[in-house]
Amino acid sequence: MTEESSSTKTRLLSRDLTGGIHPPVKSDLGYWLSIRAGALIFGAAIVLFVWSILHQSLSAWTSHGIHILTGTVWSPSTSNYGALPLILATLITTAVALLVAVPIGLGTSLTIIFFLPQRLKTPITSLVELLAAVPSVVYGLWGLFVLVPWMNTTIEPKLASITGGGFPFNGATNGFGLLLASIVLSVMILPTIVAISRDVIAAVPHEQIEGALSLGATKSQTLLKVVLPEARTGIFGAITLGAGRALGETIAVAMVIGSNPQIPKSLFSTGATLSSTIATEFGEASGAQLAALGALALILMVITASVNAGARTLTRRALRGHA
């Protein structure tokens, strides 16, 4: 304890010497300025970035007002720019993707930490991490040529027969649509959820686990009733971060969702998300449509930035709690 506090003290002292908030000695002025210049340039770029998207969407907000958020028809050819169908599709695909990816991801993290033999841990972890390395467009291609036929002939008819053709598995099936997009998204956010939840689960104090085991709890009981509750803040952080990824994912979704900006009637219907609409319509857009797409970008930015900020707070709190 004393050792730790004394090292913090040295660190603070040397921070003061080395370009901290105190003005530098003359010979260090160049260094002091240059690291701040780097940060300043990037800070300015971020301000420009936010401003550009605000500015781009300005005319859309002034001419359509709140209608952009609440309008139920998105149809550039008739100058109708209501983003509600897109917002709904974005939220639905993200929610379904989380429903699939969260249990699988948590189970995977628990297995890696508590069940795999030591020498398998690193290779299996790297394999799961490889999932994150595959580019989004390749997942889109895979969804398009491998999953679409499979969904069309096997999964969708099966799901429809389970609910007897009722909601949410109703309507015509063709492979494409919200359900396929959700499944592709769940694969893409899985490595994020595994990576973060693995860190926070591994940070659960050993005493707690051993305590539960010594009281006679079985391994599974310990995992479900001690480890998961103890790590819940961090797990929520992992889920939120996964949600952020899913909300903003663009190309893979654009390739498999069917690009049909209508209010989805079931998970089998085609749709379009905020980001996929920007990707598919930007190339041919001009004037009012470009402004409306700017408004979509703004909505997307606000949603994902707040979700990411939330995720950051949660994971930091979780990891600090055990540090």
């Binding site: 799961v128 390749v138 990707a279 700017g294």
Partner: protein
């Protein structure tokens, strides 16, 4: 004497203990069975999460390997026509495009990100904390937003689609990723090293360049390679700003092509030959990404060993 003892009723406490033990052992059996089943379920989730990876890689190899040849990698594409439906050209233009865009973006992003990393690791102020938060949030923002940004500032201003606009978007994408890695790596350098440098009379700039950065190098290189791996696969921002070009062109101020963009466009094509080409490019892209991410680990591990 002994008879009297035998006639006594069984000790109630012992009897109770026996009952408890019996029920407990029954219950333990059931609980252990439950535990086994649940462990099985946990194991199953691991298998489930590995299936997509196996499926993606298997399909890539099955459909992509046949397409790859030296000509495919270096020639320009041929547009299929009704007469010549099976035309498969090459992806030379996209290879050059990706190389130029990602290469120049890295050249700009790396020094900038290292400066920001030094700033975040060596100063403690509200501004630094705020910058750190913003940088981390930027990492998670959808990349297509950076495409919109580059479109507004570069494409609209220069009135032309160009590789340059894509470079701006990709640089913006790489900086936060490298910054995070740089900050972590720099914070990991023992403080005694910096103090030793300063005690010898070196300036801060000299200590950073000569002591801190070399020691932090493994982490830095990992960060750079990982951000490159991410940048090479980015489609969304490039799609908005690069235009498209079917010719090999090294000039970033012209329209260009890029590997992920070609996959996107080929996948929408009705021609079987184009779809095949998409798988070929996807294989090239995934191999490039894997080399970068595995390479980053290898380099980092090797440098750490040498430093010891």
């Amino acid at each position: 004497m002994t008879d009297v003892l035998m006639d006594l009723p069984p000790d109630p406490i012992l009897e109770r203990r026996r009952v408890i033990q019996e029920t407990a052992s029954k219950k333990i059996g059931r609980r252990q069975l439950n535990s086994r089943i649940l462990s099985g379920v946990f194991g199953l989730t691991l298998v489930l999460s590995l299936i997509p990876l196996v499926s993606v890689l298997a399909t890539l190899i099955k459909r992509g390997v046949g397409v790859i040849s030296w000509g495919f990698l270096t020639h320009d594409p041929i547009q299929p026509t009704l007469i010549n439906q099976n035309a498969v050209g090459g992806i030379g233009n996209a290879m050059v495009g990706s190389l130029v865009v990602d290469g120049i973006a890295a050249l700009v992003a790396v020094p900038l990100a290292i400066l920001i990393g030094l700033y975040l690791a060596e100063t403690e102020s509200r501004t630094a904390n705020f910058m750190r938060a913003i940088t981390e949030i930027m990492t998670g923002l959808p990349s297509i937003l950076l495409g919109v940004f580059a479109y507004i500032y570069i494409v609209l201003t220069m009135k032309a689609y160009s590789g340059f606009a894509a470079i701006v978007a990709i640089t913006f994408l790489m900086v936060p990723v490298i910054t995070k890695a740089a900050e972590t790596a720099i914070r990991g350098v023992p403080h005694t090293l910096r103090e030793a440098g300063l005690a010898l009379g070196a300036r801060n700039s000299k200590v950073s360049r000569g002591v801190i950065l070399p020691v932090a190098a493994p982490g830095l290189i990992t960060g750079v390679l990982l951000s490159l791996a991410r940048a090479v696969g980015e489609t969304a921002p490039i799609l908005l700003v690069i235009g498209i070009s079917g010719r090999t062109d090294w000039n970033p101020f012209h329209q260009m092509s890029a590997l992920p963009l070609d996959i996107y466009q080929d996948s929408a094509s009705g021609y079987a030959s184009q779809q095949q080409e998409a798988w070929g490019i996807a294989l090239v892209l995934v191999v490039a990404v894997l080399v970068l991410s595995l390479g980053s680990r290898f380099v980092a591990a090797r440098m750490r060993r040498e430093q010891r």
